[in-house]
Every structure is written in structure tokens, then in C-alpha cells.
Amino acid sequence: MDTWPEYVERAFRTFYYGGQYEQSLETFVRRWGGSDIQTFAQVLSVGTQEEKVLALFAIGYSGTPQAQDILRPFLQSTQPMERWASALCLGELKDEQAIPVLVDLLDEFVPPRMHPLERDGGLYQFWRIKAVSLLGAWEREDLAPLLRAALEESWKLEQADAIDRKQVWHPYQDELAYALGHLGAFGTFTGLALPTPRLHLWMVTLACGSLQARTRYGDLLTQIQINAALQEEVIHVLEHRFGLSGEERKQCIEQYADDYFARMKWT
């Protein structure tokens, strides 16, 4: 099997988000004769819609100095996938022009128009999660109300969804809570009628976002359970930002994994 530049693999992983992208990559290279920036630039003008989206991601992730100039016009594309792909790439480059499109992604193609368990709906949901991560990392406080509104909306969508489909909302909601923590929006849950296990779960997730725990330590589900240093940091946030008692803080940490899995049960 051939090996490809990291930015090319990443582009294909972002489009073929469930994995098994290798064959599509090889087919693409065979068809276009290469995987360099010139090839992707050519694909942008004459490729199929799917190939154009792949080219946008490849150019965006390549680090080439022309990337922003090439990608910006696609922010106004009538094709949603082109608009989303260019916004996600420009968002990584901290290009302010991407922000309105990234914000629009939060409520574009959500139910009833498209459910995240559908084929395209799943792709958009995956990209939506990436958009939330980018918006959180922007560290612009004015984005907090928008992300909070998206969390509230997704909570309502989960409540309205069938019992065996609710779990599809969890990764998106967790990402929103984490991003809101990154932005320091500790009042996020004010006014939201959440059951205690969900409130505790998201308070810990938000605290982890404020600490950027995922990039510092790794996957939260594991680290919250066994990383004593992270536990201490989270306890400090829960005490100082949420005003939780010692017993409540302990319960939040100890119950985190149980709360994480309990929401998946069909009861």
C-alpha cells in the first residue's frame, strides 16, 4: 500500500469520516495522476462535486501559502459541502471570514430537514462537531451565546428524538459543552432544565474544556477516571466556578463514567 502526505490522508479522513478511505484515495490519485497541490487546484475547476470537496480539504490542510486565497471564494458557494469544507479549513487558519459560515453550520441541515443518522446527515454532523471545536478554540467571547443556543437546541432535539436514536446527539453536545468551557462560559447551564446526571456530566466536560484537558491529557472518559492531576484541576473549577460542595464535586468526578454510559440506555 502506498503512503500519502499527511494533509492528503487528513483530507480523505475528513470526508470519509467513518474510515476505509484508502481505496477512494488510491482511485482519486489514479484518476488525476497525483496528489500534489497543483493536481488538487486543477480538480477544483473540473472535478466532480465530491472531488472538489476533497480538493478543498487537501489544499486547506496543506499549509500552502495560497490556501486562504483559493478557499475564500468557496465560502459563498451554493453547494453546502463546498461552503462547509472551505469554512472548516479557513477556521483552522483562524481566518475571520469563516466565522459566519461556521456559525451557520450549527443549525443548517438539522432535523426535521436531515437526521444525523442519515448518510449525509451524519457527514454534516461530523463536520458540525469539528466546527464547534474550531469556534471554541477561537477564544472569542461573543461566540459563547451562539454555542450555548446550539447546546440548548440539540438538547431539545434529543428529547424529541426516538429512544433508540438519542445517542447520536451526545458527541455533538459534549463538544459544545467542551467548547463553551474553552470560552470560559461557566454560566452555560443556567436556565436549562437538565436532569442531575446530565448536568454533572456536562459540568465536568465544560470544566475540562476550560482546562483544555483533551489536548493536554487525552480522552476524557479515561482521564477523568484515572488521572489524579486532572481530577484535582477539575475539582478546583467545580468549586470556584460552579460553587459545588465537596460532596457534589466528588460525586461529579466519581459518577462521570456512569453518567456518560447511563444516557445511552434505552430506558
Binding site: Y17, G18, G19, Q20, L117, G122, R214, T215, D219, I226
Partner: protein
Amino acid sequence: MWQQQGYQQQRPHQKHGLRFFWVLLIIIASLACIYFYIIPWLASPGGGSGGGTNTGRWSEARQRQTAFDLAQSVQNYRNRIHERRRINYGDAFMEAGVASPFRPPNPFDGMDSPSGAKNDTHSETKLKGWALATIRRNLQSLPAGSTINVLIFTQVKVCPDCRRDIQAWTKQLQQAAPPGVTVYVYIWQQTDFDIDHPDQTPVTSPGGVELAVSGSAP
């Protein structure tokens, strides 16, 4: 008289024949019981776990049968929720020589993480998180010398990052277990899963799954 003698002479032979017949019948019935009930029970996900039995490291056959059962569980789950996404699913099974084996509430989906390590949100990583929680919550009173077997099944082939991480995961699980308890982790995968057409590549026999990677703490 002769007939009576003959009759008396024949009776011990008949007795021996009858006894041989019953012994043979009992042996055949025992073998049938072992073949039809004991072996399948031991090979099934819940089998062989009762009464504090310490099962040790699972055999290849036991792992394969468990992975096959999980593969079917995942397929059924996808159908039940009308999953149409281009996405991987995984499931797990844990046995620790106590009354009941452990299963996650449902199979877990998996995709790349938007930040941090990209396999942080893969189904294998989430299932490892579930195994960790289960050991911490339910298996702290296991006696030294016990064994915990954790089998994770995934439809999409295991990525290089998850392959690399399995030793670290095993170490995390081992450290969460009581002293003297040994943890074995196996990750099995489907041999021919087509993520674009999951319905067209169902696992129909134990031959449809294969061991990807396994780990045990030193």
C-alpha cells in the same frame, strides 16, 4: 434340565451384555452432553463464568466465538436504529470469573476526534473507557490470581493508532484491577466489512472475524 442349565449358563452373559449396553449408553449420553451443551456454553459470551471460576486467558476459539457473537450484536443494533451513516461500530464483552459477564449498554459508534489524538473518540477507545469504569466499579473485590478478559470487537479494521495504544490501554486496565489480578485485552475485527454497504457484508460465521491485536500487562 439341559435347557435349564443352558438357561442358567446364558444369564450371566445376558447380564454382562445389558450392563455393557447401559455403560455405553451413559458414555454416549455424556459425550453428547459435552458436545452439544458444555462446549457451546463455554464458547458463548456468558459461558464458563459461574461460581467464581477463574477462566485464565481465553483460547483462540473462545475469543473467535465471542467476537462472532459481538459482530452479530452490532449488526442487529445497526438495523434496529436504522443506521445510515458511514460509520464504524464496536462492542465489547468482559468476563472476570464472577457470576455475570459485563456488556456495555449498547454498541458504540466511533469517529475521529476533532482535537487531540484522532483516535480519542474511536469506538475502541470508548469501549476501553467502559472497561475501565467496569473494573473500577464492579471488580475491586476480585481475589489475587483471578483473570479479567476483555474482548473488543470493531467492524472497521483497527487503525494504526489504536494498535499502538493497546499496550498503554492494557496497562491502564491492569492498574485499575486489584493486586494480583491479570488483565488480558483482545481486539477483534471484521474481515470484510464494507462501510459503504454494511448490509451487504454481514458476518455469518466465526470465520468472518479475525484477531487484530491483543495485549497483556508485563
